[in-house]
Symmetry: C2
């Protein structure tokens, strides 16, 4: 770098990662020339807030503008250029080809350091009608304005949301709050496919309780348009059709990597721009952050894409510093921690689900508990289900999921923090969390889950999955008769009666009635949530039974879809 010429940092993309990079670069280097290129008209807007403006929870559109170009110029002396689209990178000469939106003029901008934060684009279905005026994805303020205009239109009565991921669910919530008849279509047999099925179920129940038509295991096969380039009907893979005034597509995103690919930068195995620990690409003068980049994923140690705002912001800040000064801390691993609120139920997760871990060939085990967010004797306690996934042998935490009322975010954040330290379930059982009756319990749900996992590792107790095949097992339901009658255990063999069917013995009677059970049979105990099952399992194990406790008890098992609940699955 010439001493008389300031360091020039060019940043492609001005939202989460790009804006963080630019402002940190400025704070680290007053003299650098920092050019922020953004193809859209807005920078640094609150992309996670967009659904809530459509739903009018955030009434003022301006509050979505976290930082305007003018603000960034004034406070950070950034050279913010909106409607400037980067077209190509000339790595040889260290310059970027840019199209200026107003004039379509092509210019070249030199860089010393280049930070790519181009984000991702919504996947559009390859169907006629996908370009209709009322078929929209939600990615930026322009999308927001267009969707909101349709929702605001008093003629609009019906909406179809395609895809039950985070954005799809948030849009369903907001559209219902705006009074639309809403249908949610999802290809997978569950909402939130990143979660294990039984953990996603309470979200599905909640949206059905809000009279959303939930159509799982179906895809959109056609979009019927009228003469005005409006879709009026959505056709599904099962042959059914839904009349609609609005289609919101939330079927995922694809990283914007064309610029990187064309420039010959290395692309990782998950299709994002490959990065090192300082978010440098295969060209050390070029960084990549945000949805288009790959991160090191904590549970596996492997690099992968993580389309979340938190890592984007932190990686942008880090890349901005490194670009401006040549040094920074290494980028920490990312756990993929996320949360979504859907009406009165929230779901949070971090790391790997059990299903994903098993798909990847990881030797994963799990425990599931049902507990309250604070002391049960203090009014207003809300129930959550917490599932902890860990390496079966070592106990290293691989992930967790929580679904329920208040406090799911806190528990997942605590577990994600333990994962940042590559912690084990044993260490998690020792975390010292704040407790007062309005906030938690002396034994927090996090502790209860960790204790259960440690019991399993130590051979003190073995759990079976909530969807286990109970055929041929001696199933002992240790709840009271009244509870069993109210909520029978689903998916059971010969439920309720008969030999080798369910045997009902309340836990408090188990020691006296143990002779009613056959110690030679593989035995499953179940209760409402697993606590009494734990006690029963310990009693039976010490009497020589080969016994497992049904994880999460009837509460979680009854969320599993069995072909027929009272027959062999």
């Amino acid at each position: 770098m010439n001493a008389t010429k300031p360091l020039t940092i060019v940043i492609v993309g001005g939202v989460a990662g790009g804006a963080s990079a630019a402002t940190r670069a400025r704070r680290m280097n007053e003299n650098a020339e920092i050019i922020l290129l953004e193809k859209d008209p807005d920078v640094s807007f609150a992309n996670c807030g967009l659904p809530y403006h459509i739903g009018e929870e955030i009434p003022n559109r301006d509050s979505l503008l976290v930082a305007t170009p003018e603000f960034l110029r004034r406070r950070f002396r950034l050279d913010v250029r909106t409607r400037h689209e980067a077209l190509s990178i000339d790595r040889q000469n260290k310059r970027v080809e840019v199209r200026r939106g107003e004039t379509s003029e092509i210019i070249w901008i030199d860089y010393d350091k280049l930070i790519l934060a181009p984000g991702a684009s919504p996947i559009r279905p390859n169907l006629d009608g996908a370009d209709a005026e009322n078929v929209l994805s939600l990615r930026n303020l322009n999308d927001t304005d267009r969707i909101k205009a349709i929702v605001d239109d008093k003629q609009t009565k019906n909406a179809v949301v395609v895809g039950a991921g985070y954005i799809g669910l948030e849009m369903v919530e907001q559209l219902v709050q705006r009074g639309l008849n809403t249908t949610l279509v999802e290809l997978q047999p569950q909402v939130l496919p990143l979660l294990d099925p039984e953990m996603a179920r309470p979200i599905a129940d909640e949206i059905e309780a809000k009279e959303v038509s939930l159509l799982l295991g179906r895809s959109v096969s056609g979009l019927v348009t009228n003469g005005n380039n409006q879709v009026t009907e959505v056709a599904l893979s099962d042959g059914s059709t839904i009349a609609t005034d609005l289609v919101v597509m939330g079927i995922g995103v694809q990283p914007n990597i064309k610029l990187a690919v064309d420039a010959g930068l290395e692309i990782g195995v998950t299709g994002g721009i490959a990065t090192n620990d300082f978010m440098q690409t295969s060209d050390p003068d070029i960084y990549a952050v945000g949805d288009a980049a790959e991160y090191r994923f904590g549970p596996t140690g492997k690099r992968m894409r993580v389309s979340l705002a938190g890592p984007a912001n932190r990686a942008g800040r880090l890349a901005g510093q490194h670009a401006a000064t040549g040094q920074s801390d290494p980028m920490p691993t990312v756990q993929g921690t996320s949360v979504v609120r859907v009406f009165g139920v929230s779901a949070a997760m971090t790391g790997l689900s059990c299903a994903t871990a098993k798909r990847m060939g990881v030797d994963a085990a799990s425990v599931t508990i049902v507990a309250k967010n604070h002391a049960g004797y203090y009014p207003g306690a809300q129930v959550m289900t917490l599932k902890l996934v860990y390496q079966a042998e070592t106990g290293k935490i691989l992930g967790a999921q929580a679904v329920g009322g208040a406090g799911v975010d806190k528990r997942i954040d605590v577990i994600a923090t333990a994962m940042q330290f590559e912690g084990s379930v044993r260490q998690l059982g020792g975390v010292d969390l704040s407790y007062a009756p309005p906030f938690g319990s002396a034994k927090d749900p996090v502790h209860m889950a960790a204790f259960a996992a440690c019991n399993q590792i130590d051979g003190i107790e073995t759990f079976c999955d909530s969807d286990a095949d109970l055929a041929g097992k001696q199933v002992v339901d240790v709840r009271t008769a009244a509870e069993i009658e109210r909520t029978p255990l689903s998916g059971s063999p010969l439920a309720g009666t008969s030999e080798k069917g369910i045997i009902a013995i309340p836990v408090d009677e188990l020691r006296d009635r143990i002779s009613e059970l056959d110690p030679s049979l593989p035995t499953v105990v179940s209760c409402a949530v697993g606590i009494r099952g734990h006690i029963a399992a310990r009693i039976l194990k010490q009497h020589g039974f080969k016994v497992v406790n049904l994880s999460g008890g009837a509460t979680v098992r009854n969320r599993v879809n069995f072909a027929s609940s009272n027959e062999h699955p």
Copy 2:
């Protein structure tokens, strides 16, 4: 142990630690004889819930009985003996001398393993009148019933609470909710003496806003009684008196160690029963848990008493397992994590405060940030102040305090979890927390605090404490003129005007007006909360200034008590 004689585990104390020990021991060992001795009539009651029953937030007294003796007998086959007071331990013959409350009969109970969970007793002031009928501490259900009866009496108008620790504050909240004129007296010049003064201040402000008379820096010097053994007036060290119908003493607890001392068990330096990693005392057949025991404290690695329910429950569980089976995991370190809600403000803390760390000679540094609990653009965001204390050189986290609205518990739990792993502020800056607008921010308050600490360690930015003496400093207030007029910076030299007084330059004008400042003077920048101060400090530092940023800005500084706010302190 004779094969025909079962293992006998005797537990002294049947509340948090003792009850956890007993039930875990049973789950681990069906054959053991487990005797739970409790001198009071109740076991396993919700001691943290007692204030809320007095305040009628928990209307049903029975809901405080987490587990009755009958329940523990039925479900866990525990030999629960209430009103049984352990008087002495005969270690030679492994037996405990016990007085049966109903008959005062003395019996001896043999043990193979003994678990001491005797708790702590409220400290009573050494004053005439301290035994009056309306001078009460809150430790058990009997205390609760007596206090509640007085509060329920329509004649009761005035209450004095002595001690502004957790119980004192919770009682103030509940008494106010019951309509009493309440006075809070505290010896220290602040509420919550475990917190740094400026962090405790919002709690003081909140209780004063609820029209509680808050008398700091004063002690009770006398209790004036009437002929009915009722205190009618409380005399204070400043010579003033307060008429009252009820006095609640919350001036701390002393561990119940007489049994252990008399038995010759080792007592630790903090006055609790010394324990090893398995909660064994100096006699390996005797364990100690709960408020009477010592734990290994994470921030210092030293053993100390920690009078909190969470560690008591976890240590009890661990000791119960170890006593029943001869093995368990080691007891993890304890961070002293706690939380209290006082009307609309909550305070949570973990580890060491800055003041405590410095008193202990630890080379502690700190940063303080002011941030919202979730995205500011999403409605209902609440402000919190978060202070992070760490080892100045290594960055190892020593503690944290958070005060404000919703979400302080979550941030402290995340930091406490990082502390469990002996984490540094650098690692804390990398935790991957869940984010959606209703739950958090892409850069969480935890990140912001950790980033600030890392900046300080890396020499990127230096903070000065909110109570720093600004005399002789070039103080630059980078807020707007309107903000400064609304909320002047307190405790400033020659505030507002004059040479070497405060110089007002809005951050956005700083680059252009930098010639107005003298780079040879030690310089302090301040804004509202520290963010603009950070930007300003970076600008000035890169221009050769020796500059520090006022931690937490005017918001936190204006909570500090200065002798006179506009003169040299």
